[in-house]
Symmetry: C2
Subunit: 139 residues, 2 copies
C-alpha cells in the first residue's frame, strides 16, 4: 500500500477535520502549527492527490479537497501492520499495555466486554513465527 509520509500526514489532518476544504484554508490552518511556505504545502497536497489519498470535489467550479481514505481506518491498518511484526504470543500483551494508558468510556467498556465474552479463549496462544525468526522466549 502507498504510505502517507510524516509531512503529508499533517495535510491529511487538516483535510480530515475540515473537508471539503480549499487550498487557501489548508494553508491558513497549517500556518498556525507548521512553519512551511505555501509552496511546500501545495507540493505536499499535489503528492497526496497523485497518491490518491485526496481527491478533488468539483462542485460549483471550485477546487475543494476531500480525503479518499478514512483516518481511523488508516491508523488501524498501520497498527495492524506493526502488530504483525511480533509473535502471536505477544500481541495481546502489547495491546494490554496500550490500554493501560487510555481513558475508557462506559460505552467502550461495554463493547469490549461483549467482545471478550464472545471470544473463544484458548489455554495457550500458538506462536506461528517462521523458523529461526521467533524471539518470544528471549525477549
Amino acid at each position: 500500500m502507498e504510505k502517507i509520509s510524516t509531512a503529508e500526514f499533517e495535510i491529511m489532518r487538516v483535510i480530515w477535520a475540515n473537508q471539503p476544504v480549499m487550498t487557501k484554508d489548508i494553508i491558513e490552518i497549517l500556518h498556525q502549527t507548521q512553519d512551511w511556505s505555501d509552496s511546500t504545502i501545495k507540493t505536499l497536497l499535489s503528492r497526496l492527490v497523485k497518491k490518491d489519498f485526496v481527491v478533488i470535489d468539483h462542485q460549483s467550479s471550485k477546487y475543494r479537497y476531500i480525503s479518499n481514505i478514512d483516518k481511523n481506518q488508516y491508523i488501524e491498518t498501520e497498527m495492524k501492520n506493526l502488530l504483525e511484526k511480533v509473535c502471536d504470543t505477544t500481541k495481546m500483551k502489547i495491546i494490554i499495555s496500550l490500554i493501560e494508558d487510555l481513558d475508557i468510556s462506559s460505552q467502550d467498556l461495554e463493547i469490549l466486554t461483549n467482545i471478550l465474552n464472545k471470544k473463544s479463549i484458548q489455554e495457550k496462544v500458538e506462536c506461528h513465527c517462521p523458523k529461526g525468526l521467533c524471539d518470544y522466549e528471549k525477549v
Copy 2:
C-alpha cells in the same frame, strides 16, 4: 527517536531471534527470505550499529551482534505514536478493533480483566484535539 527502517527491521528480526549472532549467520538466515546481496545486508547492519540499535559483543575476539533495544518495547512505542494521531475519543475503538482479530489466552484475559476492573471508567472520554484539527464527529 531514531527510527528503524523497513529493511533494517528485517535485520533486527534475525538478531532478536538469534543473538548473539555473527554476520555470516545473519546473511545465511536472511537469504532464506530476502533476495539481498551480502553487501546490502552488511550495509544495513552497519547502519543499525551506527544508530545504536545493535551493539557488538566482543567476547572471544569475534564479532557477534546483539540488539540494544527490546523488540516488543519498540513496537509498543511505535503503536503509541500512531495512536497519538487520533482523537482521544477514538483510541479505544481502534484498540477494540485490533482485539477482535487476536487470539487470547486465558492468562492474558485475566490480566486484561484485572486492569479493566481497576480502571476508572468515565461517562464520556474528552476530545483534546487542537482547534480545527479534530474530526471525530466527521469520521
